[in-house]
Subunit: 402 residues, 2 copies
């Protein structure tokens, strides 16, 4: 299936409005509050951080998911409302209640999310005033504003939208994300909000999201840290007036492919905007006996500081790649391994392969680098996206809080 990318992000699908503004959390006056609003009730599904320490909004959203349908998502940036004790819970609820009141929703129809500094109480008065002001302003072309308002150390807003032809009719899926730091397989300080006017049965929406998250948001890494706030939420409001999609529908595979596409595009944007990143690296481990082993090795390579700094320095240091693979905790025969940079063989059956250093440097200088490790032990493959580690990563993170 071919998908056509269109403008608009989360407001591209029919029946969705959005907006963003500065409510006073960020000191630099940048937008820090976003609302996504659906004109009609929408099925909701979500995936959240597996970190043991879960932020208040993550815990709150469990109630919304139980409720099963929602009509709004209210998000603030600049403060994560994480490790904020009982007050954090009260504040998350206050955000939801205020959004519901101002948008005319029933209880539990608004989900919440926060991102930013951990351990500081939300300036809830500012946020409530902000919601009151923003609620009447949400519009069909507020997708860009909303995407900007959830940024923290992101350098560009991340959004995508596609048209998806079904067997009868057409749907649109839109999405926005924020990422940049604390990005690691199994989610990260990563907020992702996806909207669609497809008419998706709730269980199917949940299954489809789970499947789409694995190769996308669970297969990216910036720094190996995963956060207290990671959230992926999808709302499906049926405003396209197409037939219901459930697990057995003829259109289910198309919807699955389309949601996968949107997740992959946003995941790629998150890695490309990794803190201090100058390039994206695609680490593929193939020829593995099983997919879990392939993924574990790819993750270990993708998280290796030595590999990431070598990529930054355009250094074809494949020794670090095989070395990282060797400590992944997965059995393989180092004597059978091939390594390629792009299409250039640098290691063949575990032995150094004479290669053109100039060409290797050229391949590594591109803004997208491909590293492939072939185990020659089976037919399974996994790919993890990562970025290089530069001076700027250190600069950005050495004094984030102050």
């Amino acid at each position: 299936v071919q998908f056509t990318e269109i403008e608009g992000g989360v407001t591209a699908p029919a029946g969705f409005l959005a907006g963003g503004l500065h409510c006073g959390i960020k000191k630099d006056g940048q937008p820090d509050l976003a609302i996504i609003f659906s004109e009609r009730s929408a099925a909701v599904a979500g995936v959240f951080t597996r970190n043991l320490v879960k932020a208040a909004p993550v815990l709150y959203n469990q109630h919304v998911l139980k409720h099963g349908s929602a009509r709004a998502i209210v998000v603030n940036s600049g403060n994560a409302n994480a490790v904020t004790g009982k007050q954090g819970k009260v504040d998350a609820e206050a955000m939801a209640r205020t959004a519901e009141r101002c948008l005319g929703l029933a209880p539990l129809e608004a989900a919440v999310a926060s991102t930013g500094v951990i351990g500081q109480t939300l300036p809830i008065d500012k946020i409530m005033k902000g919601i009151e002001k923003l609620a009447p302003m949400v519009s069909r072309d507020g997708g860009e504003q909303a995407a900007r308002a959830i940024m923290t150390t992101d350098t560009f807003p991340k959004k995508v939208a596609i048209r998806v032809p079904l067997s009868r009719g057409e749907i649109v899926i839109g999405g926005m994300a924020k990422g940049a730091g604390m990005i690691c397989p199994d989610l990260a300080t990563m907020l992702v909000f996806i909207t669609t006017d497809a008419n998706v049965e709730r269980e199917c929406l949940h299954h489809t999201l789970r499947a789409a998250v694995e190769p996308s948001f669970n297969s990216i890494t910036v720094d190996g840290d995963s956060s207290t706030n990671d959230t992926v939420l999808v709302l499906a409001n049926g405003a396209s007036n197409t037939a219901v999609i459930d697990d057995l529908s003829v259109d289910c595979p198309t919807f699955r492919a389309a949601l996968h596409y949107v997740c992959m595009r946003l995941a790629e944007m998150i890695v490309r905007d990794g803190e201090g990143a100058t390039k994206l690296a695609r680490v593929t481990v193939t020829g593995a006996q099983n997919a879990a082993a392939a993924r574990q090795i790819a993750k270990t390579i993708a998280n290796s500081l030595l590999v990431k700094t070598a990529i930054f320095g355009n250094d074809a240091n494949w020794g670090r790649i095989i070395c990282a693979a060797g400590r992944a905790g997965v059995e393989f025969d180092p004597g059978k391994v091939d390594i390629l940079l792009g299409d250039l063989i640098v290691l063949k059956e575990g032995s150094p392969w004479r290669f053109d250093e100039t060409r290797a440097k050229e391949l590594l200088s591109r803004n997208e680098v491909e590293i492939t490790l072939i185990l020659n032990a089976g037919g399974e493959t996994a790919t993890v996206l990562t970025c290089d580690l530069s001076y700027d990563y250190v600069k950005i993170n050495a004094s984030y809080r102050t």
Copy 2:
């Protein structure tokens, strides 16, 4: 027991000679070949990398350990002889054979070690000529030279020696190490050589070394990467003419404490000289239900890039500490956790604790930083040593190979 530190490193114990010189591996003319020599046969014990990809010298030394006694260790820096295929094996053997010939030893009496770039064949002719030249030059005051000759990105030679009073008589233990990068729990590109004139039974030497390595070399991390070449070797030659120490000897606890002391001192030096490090951080997790859980949490905090950059930036960002703990894969109740920076409480029972930011900054600015996480769930404790992550780490590693 009190130990007195003395000069001399590996040549401080009786009956040990050493030396180092430049044999032509390093381009900058720095020393790159070291020999440690014992005038009499010595019991030998060793611990090696658990990386699946093991360098040729690591594999070779298994034969020496099986042999059970040794009289020399020959080490080169500048080239790791790792992932070098069959030639690597031939070269490691050639290093050992040459050392044995030049020092008048029997087969399998020389252990070998290499550190440096992975995947390049050793310049074995230069090394063999170097051994021929160095062997007659080893001396009682060559400990410093030898420590210098095993350095790679290290900024200072690492050595220690102590006098250890026994129930009757006295022994000396000396040691040297190289580290700096690829340092992670479960060893790292870390070479450690320890000598003693104690008269230690082989099995006891092995047990004592294993026990000493856990809280020292297996509890340090610079960048989470562990290498193909990690080696800790100890030679005990009995030249002190003191009584045999075995597992049941009255002096065994003293010897254990002394070896522990030497390992801890060298481990600390390795972390303090972590690539680009400006300070050392001691991460202690206490009040845990079991030691493995405490260690796992301490390791995860100690390896978190976000924690390490915050330490570099003197930023009391305890949110990153609790967040890293939460993704360690160990169950605990975040609502019971206390966190201290030095003696300053920053989190109490899972809730932010008002603290003096100026004092926190002052504590973090010291060249040794203490982070303590109290789980309040039991009586077990673990400490992991780490360092901060600075611009210079990236600089050093972005173009190491070239």
